[in-house]
C-alpha cells in the first residue's frame, strides 16, 4: 500500500508492506507529486533486524525481537535520510524545542538526558514552547539559515509536532553537578555531531552530509552545556543561548 507524506518540505511516497508505517506517519500525510518514492521489501526489514541486533550486541544488551512492522518504520526513515542530503537536509539525533518560534536543538550521547532537559523547557515556558521533535528531527541547512522540521520518528515518548522553526542555537548536552553553558567552536562540536548525524551508506551522500555539517557549524551558534536536571536548568540554558 502506498501513501504520500511531506517531510522537511519534500513530498515522499511510501510503498510499505505493513499498515503500521502509514499510521505512524499519518500526521504528515499530503497530496502532491513525490520527489522521492520509498519502496520497502522484506530484505530491507531483515537488514534493519540485523542492524538492530548488531547494535544490541555491541552495547552488551540482550537482542531485541522487534516485529516486522516496527522495523519497517526504521527502514522507511533510513531510505529517506539516505536521500535527503541532495535536498541540503540531514537527520540529526537530538531533541528540538522551539520557544517563541525559535528552535533550540540539544544533542548528546544516548542516555544523557536530552528528552528530560527539553521536557524542562516545556514545563518552564508553557505554551511558549513547542516540541518539534524529541529524537530524530530533519535539518535543512541553507547557506545562511537552518530550519528544524518535525518528523514522526520522535522517540519512545512520541513527542513531536508537524511543524518547522529556524534553528537559533545548538547545544551539546553533558551531565554535570552544576548547570553551565559555554560557547564552543566547530572543531569542538564536530566529533559528537559526526556521531549524531545520520551517516549515509553512499559515499557521495556522506560527502554532502559533511559539507552540510560544515555549513551548519558556521551558521548556527554552538554551545556545550553541563547540566543537572533541576527545573532551573531550562531557564539558565535559554538565557545563555537566546542571544
Amino acid at each position: 500500500m502506498t501513501d504520500t507524506y511531506r517531510f522537511a518540505d519534500t513530498v515522499v511516497a511510501v510503498d510499505a508492506l505493513y499498515p503500521a508505517v502509514h499510521a505512524y506517519c499519518s500526521a504528515y500525510r499530503c497530496t502532491g507529486t513525490p520527489a522521492l518514492t520509498v519502496r520497502i521489501t522484506q530484505a530491507d526489514i531483515d537488514a534493519e533486524r540485523r542492524k538492530s541486533a548488531d547494535e544490541d550486541r555491541a552495547e552488551g544488551r540482550p537482542v531485541h525481537a522487534f516485529a516486522d512492522d516496527y522495523l519497517e518504520t526504521l527502514a522507511v526513515y533510513r531510505k529517506i535520510a539516505e536521500w535527503m542530503p541532495q535536498r541540503d537536509t540531514v537527520l540529526l539525533h537530538g531533541s528540538a524545542v522551539a520557544v517563541d518560534g525559535a528552535a533550540y536543538l540539544f544533542t548528546a550521547k544516548s542516555g544523557t538526558g536530552k528528552s528530560t532537559h527539553t521536557a524542562l523547557w516545556q514545563a518552564a515556558f508553557g505554551s511558549r514552547a513547542v516540541m518539534i521533535n524529541d529524537d530524530k528531527p530533519l535539518l535543512r541547512i541553507a547557506p545562511d539559515s537552518v530550519t528544524v522540521f518535525g518528523t514522526p520518528w520522535d522517540g519512545k515518548h512520541r513527542r513531536s509536532s508537524n511543524c518547522a522553526a529556524p534553528l537559533h542555537a545548538m547545544c551539546i548536552l553533558e551531565r554535570a553537578a552544576q548547570t553551565q553553558v559555554v560557547p564552543i567552536s566547530a572543531s569542538q562540536a564536530m566529533p559528537l555531531l559526526l556521531q549524531q548525524v545520520y551517516r549515509p551508506a553512499d559515499p557521495v551522500a556522506l560527502a554532502a552530509t559533511l559539507r552540510l555539517l560544515d555549513r551548519l557549524t558556521q551558521t548556527v551558534p554552538l554551545y556545550r552545556m553541563g547540566c543537572n536536571m533541576a527545573p532551573s536548568a531550562a531557564e539558565i540554558a535559554y538565557e545563555a543561548m537566546k542571544g
Binding site: 555491541a58 539516505e82 567552536s185 566547530a186 572543531s187 564536530m190 566529533p191 559526526l194 556521531q195 545520520y198 551517516r199 549515509p200 551508506a201 553512499d202 559515499p203 556522506l206 560527502a207 559533511l210 560544515d214 557549524t217
Partner: protein
C-alpha cells in the same frame, strides 16, 4: 594500499578526521591533527608505507625515524578499523 571507498577523509577547523559511511563495519571516527590529514590525503590513491614516509619527509622538517613511527601508528590505526584496501 589505499583508503577504502567506505571511508571519507575530512578536514574542518584544524581537525582531521576519517569518517566511515553507514555501510562501513566501523561506526566510530579516527581523529587527529594535520599529520593525519596529510597521511589520509596520500592514501587516497594506491601507495606504500615507504612512499608515505618519503612524502611526509619531503613535507615536514622532522627526523625520519619520528616520521616513520607516526606513519606506522596511523596506518596501524587505519588497518585496525578496516579502512585500508591492501
Amino acid at each position: 594500499m589505499k583508503l577504502k571507498q567506505e571511508f571519507i577523509a575530512y578536514d574542518t577547523d584544524g581537525l582531521s578526521m576519517l569518517v566511515p559511511t553507514g555501510s562501513a563495519g566501523f561506526a566510530g571516527l579516527v581523529q587527529g591533527n594535520r599529520t593525519l590529514g596529510v597521511i589520509l590525503s596520500l592514501l587516497q590513491s594506491e601507495t606504500t608505507e615507504a612512499e608515505v614516509v618519503a612524502a611526509m619527509l619531503a613535507r615536514f622538517d622532522a627526523p625520519e625515524d619520528v616520521i616513520a613511527r607516526d606513519v606506522r601508528r596511523v596506518i596501524d590505526a587505519l588497518r585496525g578499523v578496516g579502512a585500508l584496501d591492501e
